[in-house]
């Protein structure tokens, strides 16, 4: 199986158009992302074009949404956030596997399960392929399951969080000594997040591709239509990404205190990278009205 997304593209997502309020737009595929910080070392990400069913609902991805599945040849495949990222490995030696895309990404199988090492990260999976430990630099997360492989508790750093999981497998509560986080879902979609008295509400529309976020500080809307046009609005700026063709986009930024800026980009279909169309010639008018 080939990886759906290569790592270079994932990195590209994150560096493109950093926006305020932790929201990011990826004009290449016409998606937006939103980051929600649950605790200091634990963030979950919304990705408008990923519909996978994860622990925090459809399209939301957390650091513990990953598993290893062994294929018929005995080689492991890593699934991150179900369908967001799939990585295949090939056998090097007995019990040792190497990523088909990145030789620095390795998995070692032993009697207790699997250990994956990649860059600064080390992950341990049990024999069922469930993630049980993840260490990225100083950040360490341990995950505990019951006998039915349902996640029960999670240790982030030194703090233990007890989790409640609802029928569809989504986490509805995260409770520690000092913290109580609650999550509400509707049709497997996260619609409300409550942290003490603070509530953030999410509204989805247009075939799961729109997200409206309201919290006590601000209101902003990410709107993603079927034709991949995206608009983003907050108190200061309005951003519109419009697809002129599959390989050409227009990016408009209109902020209160400055002149509207418009950029045209070409998308290189081979590398999926964006290039500012510095060399272009285009007609210089717009149609106002047609007279029959």
């Amino acid at each position: 199986m080939k990886p759906i997304y290569k790592k270079q593209n994932l990195i590209l997502f994150l560096i493109l158009f950093p926006l305020q309020l932790l929201a990011k737009i990826n004009p290449i595929e016409g998606s937006f992302q939103y980051e929600l910080e649950l605790t200091q070392d634990f963030k979950i990400h919304y990705h408008s074009r990923r519909l996978a069913n994860n622990l925090f609902g459809d399209s939301w991805c957390s650091p513990i949404d990953r598993k290893i599945i062994i294929d018929s040849s005995g080689s492991p495949t890593l699934y991150i956030c179900d369908e967001l990222f799939i990585q295949n490995y090939k056998k090097m030696n007995a019990g040792q596997y190497i990523s088909v895309d990145d030789p620095s990404d390795k998995i070692i199988k032993d009697f207790s399960g699997y250990t994956r090492s990649f860059q600064n990260t080390q992950e341990k999976y049990n024999n069922n392929g469930r993630l049980i430990e993840s260490q990225n630099g100083k950040q360490k997360i341990k995950i505990f399951y019951d006998k039915n492989n349902v996640v029960q508790k999670m240790q982030i750093g030194k703090i233990m969080y007890y989790l409640s999981v609802q029928n569809f497998g989504q986490i509805s509560e995260m409770r520690s000594k000092n913290t109580h986080l609650q999550f509400k879902y509707e049709s497997r979609k996260l619609i409300e997040y409550q942290y003490d008295t603070d509530i953030i509400r999410f509204r989805y529309a247009n075939q799961n591709l729109s997200l409206i976020v309201k919290n006590q500080w601000s209101t902003f809307i990410l709107y993603d239509s079927k034709d991949r046009a995206i608009s983003y609005k907050d108190n200061l700026c309005e951003i519109k990404v419009q697809y002129l063709t599959d390989f050409k986009i227009k990016y408009q930024k209109n902020c209160d205190d400055e002149k509207e800026k418009t950029f045209a980009f070409d998308i290189d279909p081979k590398t999926l990278s964006l290039k500012l169309s510095r060399l272009s010639r285009t007609p210089q008018s717009i149609l106002n009205k047609e007279i029959l």
């Binding site: 390989f247 010639r281 285009t282 008018s285 047609e290």
Partner: protein
């Protein structure tokens, strides 16, 4: 020196009368580098340039210019002879050039399709360069380019310079970014070449430059660029706004000038002076274009020669008076 050799030397040194004479007897060919044309539109169909050396639809490059069946022009976007305008811009521009020339029966439009929405910026630029090259080879008199973009291109500069050497004008749009193009650069309008006439857009209701129009001292003049009615594909009509429309109107005025005053042909400085010095002065354009005024095709056509305008102090006095009046009004208001 015999009389004949005297005449020969005179003509070599003074080619204008010869060129002017030749222009009197033939149609003025305007290469419209744009999105194509509706060749069946009732207002356009009688004004298509015809490459008489090419036999239509015989799949042979009869004139051996490298283009098969290029009877009315060429589609550089798809590299074929299909010039139909699916976009609308090119037909609108073509209609405006004819309509503002007042002499449309003497004008033929060479349709050179360069733009495709599906193409990348670089592809559209490449098609533009090929279209300019074609216009030069096929000896158009004027190129109308109601388009442009960022990025100096050496090849484009060289081609327009080649057009200059051939006595060909290029009327170029100042662009719709609302920016100073001396600072930001917008091409081909920003190339410092004598044969380029750069046009900004004017909005009549508000009586100032269109908000989105580029400006700068290297822009020669402005012309109407707001909700301008013209031809659209499918025998339709519609209104469009932008420096594209202003460019087409200025191009029509230039065509009228060259038809009525053929002695100007190839003398870029005199031609530009003629257009610039006869504009209707508008104080709100002050510092935003060279002329600080709106194209006045009637006046340009009426004046005998731009050189006489240089010595006609009353024009400048009139302009200065209007400026003083407007400044006084502004000062009184504050």
């Amino acid at each position: 020196m015999t009389f004949m050799s005297f005449i020969l030397v005179y003509l070599l040194l003074n080619p204008l009368p010869l060129m002017a004479k030749s222009l009197e007897n033939k149609d003025l060919v305007i290469a419209v580098i744009d999105t194509g044309i509706d060749p069946g539109h009732s207002d356009l169909k009688n004004h298509l340039w015809i490459n008489t050396k090419e036999i239509p639809n015989n799949q042979i490059d009869d004139d051996q210019n490298g283009f098969i069946d290029d009877v009315n022009g060429w589609n550089f976007s798809q590299n074929n002879s299909k010039i139909y305008d699916f976009h609308g811009h090119g037909s609108h521009i073509s209609g405006l050039i004819l309509n503002s020339s007042e002499n449309s029966n003497k004008i033929k439009l060479m349709t050179l399709k360069y733009y495709s929405e599906g193409a990348s910026g670089e592809q559209n630029l490449r098609a533009t360069l090929e279209a300019i090259d074609y216009a030069i080879k096929m000896k158009a008199d004027i190129i109308n380019f109601s388009g442009g973009g960022p990025g100096f291109n050496k090849r484009e500069f060289d081609l327009i310079q080649k057009a200059l050497q051939q006595g060909m004008y290029l009327v170029a749009a100042a662009g719709n970014d609302g920016a100073n193009i001396v600072k930001d650069g917008f091409y081909p309008a920003s190339y410092p070449l004598e044969n380029i006439i750069t046009v900004a857009a004017h909005e009549p209701l508000k009586n100032h430059l269109l908000k989105t129009s580029n400006y700068g001292p290297n822009i020669h003049l402005s012309a109407l660029g707001f909700e301008v009615r013209s031809t659209l594909p499918g025998n339709r009509f519609g209104k469009m706004s932008g420096t594209s429309q202003a460019t087409a109107i200025a191009c029509g005025a230039l065509a009228r000038l060259l038809i009525e005053k053929p002695f100007l042909k190839g003398d870029f400085k005199r031609t530009k002076n003629h257009l610039v010095l006869t504009t209707s002065f508008n104080p709100t354009h002050w510092g935003k274009t060279q002329s600080s005024g709106l194209l006045n095709s009637e006046e340009a056509s009426y004046q005998q020669d731009a050189l006489t305008l240089f010595n006609n102090q009353s024009i400048n006095k009139d302009q200065l008076k209007k400026l003083n009046d407007s400044l006084s009004t502004l000062l009184n208001q504050n």
